[in-house]
């Protein structure tokens, strides 16, 4: 039995998405830019997919641009807003400390190009308030970019309030909604969102395809030069099977959003309650405003990679923010941003659920995880020091 609990990394494709895609690989192979009938069938599919994605977000089809995924959407949105701002002499950007690297690394690059980037603290719970954003906005602010929901610790940000503040101050507001799309209600109009990134494979669609919403009236610059696809904003022959699959998956997710959220959050809460019983553990992220499927814990005295390997041997697929799992030297910037010390952040475990998970999955995780944590603690000199009082418990 394999329990897949790493849905924030990627999801299993839904049957609906696969079935929607197959004809576009098997028979409807035309290039939508072609004038002939074979191409025009593909063009119609592209148009329909754009309508579907727009409808789910309460946007209009001409505000949707198809991309290769969340990272490209984030890069294009941020770079575009920054360069447009610069033309008006605005070079200040506001964001948060716990954004995805697709956002943070783009901002870092912009910093080296002369932009001033202000990253808001996210506090011990891991969120930002609209008030923080309001205080950070200056006359020369060209962009606020804040994630809809955090990929590691599951906190859902007050996007509607942040959007309101940005709109009042006339600042472009971008949100990386990669973890939220298909899982939380998104209404770009009601939430005053100017730009939004999403990625298909996070909601049971295919990998390598995503979308960028850009409100009419907000300038969008292209990253990729070439043909006139996506109204000249994103060159390259459209990934028709991927785009069709994404639209089908998004519509399916949106049609079942409340029932899935209820089911998944019930599983999540069982998991959180059960794992909280492990001594010297702590939940990461906002306990109240939380993604339906996210469970993130730190366990003191152990290291995350060995935890993942042992869980994998028990058939449980999870992830961790430890340095050893990332190939870098530091543990997750998200866990450090919420104030977890390095040695505690190394012992993190992220379990992310989908509607595919069952109560039996949770039973297995709750049966195996405490034993695995105990096994690693038994061989950990750090744990021994903690128990013997030579080192202070943090959790």
């Amino acid at each position: 039995m394999t329990v897949y609990a790493d849905n924030a990394a990627t999801t299993k494709m839904s049957r609906t998405a696969i079935d929607a895609m197959l004809p576009y690989m098997e028979s409807i192979y035309g290039n939508p830019s072609s004038l002939h009938s074979v191409g025009q069938v593909a063009a119609e599919a592209l148009c329909e997919a754009r309508r579907t994605v727009a409808e789910v977000l309460n946007a209009s089809p001409k505000e949707i641009y198809f991309t290769s995924g969340g990272s490209e959407s984030d890069n294009q949105a941020i770079r575009s807003a920054a360069l447009s701002g610069k033309k008006q002499g605005k070079t200040h950007i506001v964001s948060t400390r716990f954004e995805h690297h697709a956002v943070l690394h783009t901002l870092k690059k912009l910093e080296s190009e002369g932009f001033e980037v202000e990253l808001l603290d996210v506090g011990p719970i891991g969120t930002v308030t609209a008030e923080q954003v309001k205080r950070a906005i200056r006359p020369e602010t060209c962009l606020v970019t804040a994630m809809f929901a955090n990929n590691e610790i599951g906190s859902v940000l007050p996007i509607e309030e942040i959007g309101k503040v940005c709109r009042e101050r006339g600042v472009v507001f971008h949100t990386d909604a990669v973890q939220a799309a298909g899982h939380l209600h998104i209404d770009v109009k009601a939430m005053n969102i100017d730009m939004l990134s999403l990625s298909a494979h996070k909601f049971h669609g295919p990998k390598g395809v995503g979308a960028l919403y850009v409100r009419t009236g907000v300038k969008l610059l292209g990253l990729i030069e070439g043909g006139d696809q996506e109204r000249g904003k994103r060159a390259g022959t459209e990934n028709i099977p991927g785009i069709v699959g994404m639209a089908a998956a998004l519509k399916e997710a949106a049609d079942h959003i409340d029932e899935n959220a209820a089911k998944v959050s019930a599983l999540r809460d069982r998991l959180i309650e059960g794992l909280s019983r492990i001594p010297h553990s702590a939940l990461n992220g906002d306990p109240a405003n939380r993604l339906p499927g996210n469970v993130s814990f730190c366990f003191e005295g152990i290291e995350g990679e060995s935890l993942l390997l042992l869980l994998d041997a028990k058939g449980i697929c999870a992830s961790s923010g430890s340095a050893c799992t990332s190939g870098s030297l530091d543990p997750s910037h998200v866990l450090l941003a919420i104030g977890r010390p390095h040695e505690v952040a190394h012992g993190s475990l992220r379990l992310t659920l989908s509607a595919e998970n069952t109560d039996e999955d949770i039973d297995l995780i709750l049966r195996e995880t405490p034993a695995v944590v105990e096994r690693l603690r038994d061989m950990s000199p750090v744990w021994k020091d903690l128990v013997k009082g030579r080192r202070q418990f943090v959790l």
């Binding site: 995350g304 990679e305 060995s306 340095a323 050893c324 010390p341 040695e343 061989m379 950990s380």
Partner: protein, 144 residues
């Protein structure tokens, strides 16, 4: 998959010589928790021979496997033989480690040296200090 070799996985899943030794003749601890790796080695020594060895490790799969392998390589060996074990020997015995995990084998070698140095220090045995690397200062994490 195969992030790790079968030997690494075997030593990780079934680590040899886990635990501690009461009244050990030499104890060596290297690494630091901030970097995510601590290895602690306990030695029982008689007539210049390592008669027993135990370890405790806080760290990733390759850290646990490296220490486990290191204990197997020095058990029953003379101190001189144990001091001759290098990180490369540990890597080779494990059938290789991913490049970004090589520092685990370095820590394993250092843990052997630290434990033997402790044995020398406790017993007032003269030794060539240049043969023992200084322990990490703990300020920065080792890169490979």
């Amino acid at each position: 998959m195969a992030l790790y070799t079968e030997t690494v996985m075997d030593h990780f899943m079934n680590p040899r010589n886990v635990g501690s030794i009461e009244n050990a003749e030499g104890v060596g601890e290297v690494g630091n928790a901030k970097c995510g790796d601590i290895m602690k080695l306990y030695l029982k020594i008689g007539d210049g021979v390592i008669t027993d060895v135990r370890f405790e490790t806080f760290g990733c799969g390759s850290a646990i496997a490296s220490t486990s392998m290191a204990t197997e390589m020095i058990k029953g060996k003379t101190i001189e033989e144990a001091l001759a074990v290098t990180n490369k020997d540990v890597v080779d015995a494990l059938g290789g480690l991913p490049a970004h995990k090589l520092h685990c084998s370095v820590l394993a070698e250092e843990s052997i040296r630290a434990a033997i140095k402790d044995y020398y220090d406790r017993n007032g045995i003269e030794y060539d200090h240049s043969r023992f690397r200084e322990a990490e200062d703990g300020e920065s994490c080792p890169m490979v």
